[in-house]
Symmetry: D2
Subunit: 290 residues, 4 copies
Amino acid sequence: MLSQFGGGTKTEETNSLNSTTLDGLVIAVPTSSHGDYIKKAAKNGLGVFVEKPVAESPEEIEELYHVCEQHQVPLCCGFQRRFDKSYAQAAQHVQQGSIGKVSNANIFFGDSPGPSLEFLLEGGNIFYDLSCHDVDFIRWALNDEIESVYACGTSSREELTECNIQDNATMMMTTAKGSIITLTMSRRAAYGYDQRCEIFADQGKVNVGNEFETTTIISDEHGDHSSRLKNSFDTRFRDAFTNEINAFADTVMGKAPWPVKKEDVIRVQQVAAAAKKSLETNQIVYIGKR
Amino acid sequence: MLSQFGGGTKTEETNSLNSTTLDGLVIAVPTSSHGDYIKKAAKNGLGVFVEKPVAESPEEIEELYHVCEQHQVPLCCGFQRRFDKSYAQAAQHVQQGSIGKVSNANIFFGDSPGPSLEFLLEGGNIFYDLSCHDVDFIRWALNDEIESVYACGTSSREELTECNIQDNATMMMTTAKGSIITLTMSRRAAYGYDQRCEIFADQGKVNVGNEFETTTIISDEHGDHSSRLKNSFDTRFRDAFTNEINAFADTVMGKAPWPVKKEDVIRVQQVAAAAKKSLETNQIVYIGKR
Amino acid sequence: MLSQFGGGTKTEETNSLNSTTLDGLVIAVPTSSHGDYIKKAAKNGLGVFVEKPVAESPEEIEELYHVCEQHQVPLCCGFQRRFDKSYAQAAQHVQQGSIGKVSNANIFFGDSPGPSLEFLLEGGNIFYDLSCHDVDFIRWALNDEIESVYACGTSSREELTECNIQDNATMMMTTAKGSIITLTMSRRAAYGYDQRCEIFADQGKVNVGNEFETTTIISDEHGDHSSRLKNSFDTRFRDAFTNEINAFADTVMGKAPWPVKKEDVIRVQQVAAAAKKSLETNQIVYIGKR
Amino acid sequence: MLSQFGGGTKTEETNSLNSTTLDGLVIAVPTSSHGDYIKKAAKNGLGVFVEKPVAESPEEIEELYHVCEQHQVPLCCGFQRRFDKSYAQAAQHVQQGSIGKVSNANIFFGDSPGPSLEFLLEGGNIFYDLSCHDVDFIRWALNDEIESVYACGTSSREELTECNIQDNATMMMTTAKGSIITLTMSRRAAYGYDQRCEIFADQGKVNVGNEFETTTIISDEHGDHSSRLKNSFDTRFRDAFTNEINAFADTVMGKAPWPVKKEDVIRVQQVAAAAKKSLETNQIVYIGKR
């Protein structure tokens, strides 16, 4: 990928950002450093691809998009579900009206492999870390907006309970068009990377299911045994990441606009913030009109 | 069934309830008439099987159980999931600890075939009508108690919206042991009777899936096409109903106690009432200790 | 069933066959006694339902159909796949041309629970015992005729090998219309009653799959574990048997002809005989025009 | 891949084969040119990877292995099922005895997309073209040898029938250890690349299933609709091909022997030849001891 699109690594930073042979920059550093890189890239006329979130606060997100607009370079935030064939096909069916008027969606995000206790204790809020991809997806698929959030969380271990850190959480959201959405998240699904979404409407249902490590099934006196789910995002979303980088190349070359807009990036952060606040206050939290 | 257990129909009522050949009474009349029949049966020394709910209000439920206790006859409220092999197997796995410590459950109740608009307009609250079986099941499977409920609903048709009648609704509940449960309900799943339950824990997951009309799959250039889900409760839960009536016979004959207790019957009504109130007030509703 | 259709048991034989209240006779005795009962029933003007095979030899089958024709009573041989929703739906798709021109069918018959070694040693040829239902089905579904058979068998245990008794066997057949059919049979599928049929054509494929004991799936670190297949024919084909008896009632009452004809019954016996001969001679065996 | 392993294209041929920087050669040219390239590579001390078949005749295969042995370079024939996680896992289960004593295997090879009529008319025997991968796999998985073959074929179109060209065919094989294997092949599965293998034994069954384009399922009033199978070998076996090339690199670097031996390569050609002869003579064909 690197050679194909003329990228480089961090150690080549100074040279690469001034390089006349570069068209775009793929940023893969911690969120706190996103801002610096995005600004440098913009000032060098380079389009930027960055994994979600662009920045922690809506204000900083606004600022970074503003800088990129000034320098007329695209700021491309990655939400790989939009580039995944299964998720995209589900969204297309909903948008085409194949299943009628949507009333519900139930989403499951079970991460794998689970992080260490140390990682969990050091922080990282479950809503900020896990909800963004699915909130972006469902807003896009339903062409709808989240208006309220109620969230609860639980801790699977005593050490987490003591520190008030949740590694399992559920959000229930209502939308502008009147749909109800649940999103259940876990930091660790013991049986593999479990990412599903089901959208229910008056004429049918669309479901995005999981991918398995193998298609081998053993049948014995106890029943049928199939393989574990794929273990993590890298194998499950491998093709989506490829599609995403190809789309970034197209955007940098001016062939197609980037589908994720500033408003999308800000809204998913607002929804995560609302979920966090709901859990802390034990209240339903309403999100203002964007 | 009738001949096997010495039952009869309503028109034979007077004779049958005095009959010395009867051991038990299966009541299948509207809820509002349950009380009369239960009292008559108890006074004649007959055990009673009645579909949920035993009565509308917790007070009346208390009274009817009291009458049956006085006459020393069992009052057996039917929740067929407890007698369904798939649901019972899932509960057993959870209770045995096969999947570890439970943190979540996500339940789906899609009824089929959908009722007429007239039926919906005439009343019947979605929480009272649809939530009971799953609330009873999850309390039993997790050996846990519902403590709070947040509920939202939507109307699939303009006529229902105008009358403030919801035909789709979702409840999010928390339990005494700290689990979070979602229950999504619909009066009408266009693709058949969709009844699923998934319980997530730190070592795995248990899922109860649907049954299909046939096992035939057509593969063509568009993909794989399998049959519709079974259309309704009578085919999906046929074996469970048979098991249930057999269990009632065992209870009447003193061979085994009835698994559903007065407290269970009252609690599911309280949860439905809490959900209704939550929707009306747009607040989280807490249910007191039982 | 018995009371519904006025049947009785063997001990009531003398009375029942002369009874004026009887319309039909369901025969469920060993094949060697079929002839006597069929003749008695015919002479008493009673329609007869009998499980396959009607008789061992084509000659005796011919004779029994002749007797029933003379007395103008239907002789109804049961092949339950024709009354099973899944198999019937597959046949219908093929007959309607949904999948185009058929070139292949692959069929699997795994019996369960497996018989004892004693049973196997005492006899019963695997082709006669296991092939009939599937040969009848595929002839009907394809509206085609078997013309040649090549068969091989194996023995899963030393004791069976010594006695030249096969408990696993495979037949490969060609049809008049040019299709190729394989039928793999086993006396014992350790994982349950495994009955599948797949028909392949130039525009697609139709597959009849298995039914499971439950729909419960456990997911753990090793993968997904679903239930065992249904254990035997009585649970797998329960509805088909009910449909079959209802169809017999309709035939006896003159409402509908019985779908299985004399020619069908004879042909499946001829195919079984050809398979047996093929295994014994290690040659391809051709079956003459019917 | 090319840059990683120091390969090149055909136009660089002269230089590349003499290159001191090359360790191995991946040959991807028509079978008739395999011999020349293999000999050149061997003489230059380069290990060779070549897709099956190494050559058309057993004699030429022998010769080419001999040349490579003389020059002490590995001749690595690719059978990608051995490097596919699903097929390899199935083989491992069988070899470990997880399912007991094998009696049967049923294999399906449905190619996709189907070739043009012109391609079919120009030749290419279905047994030589399609049977090799599965015959290699089943020999390896069962650690067994094919001893007899009976094969039939059909033509899906009038033009093919006229030219005696089969685009659908089925082989039934017996093995040295007493198992029976069927292999059903089609030049064109309209619903996608259909590659399955099922191995049946006295304690259970192992099945390798298909992979789908997406995991999206639409449920509507007609049933459940899932995506098409993956369309062809390049997507279905993508990871297997990567594994295969990595294994070739390991072999060239002396880290691991190549798993496919000369005897394997010759035997699959003999089995294809036997199938062709069986179809032509309408006889069971026996293959001598290797």
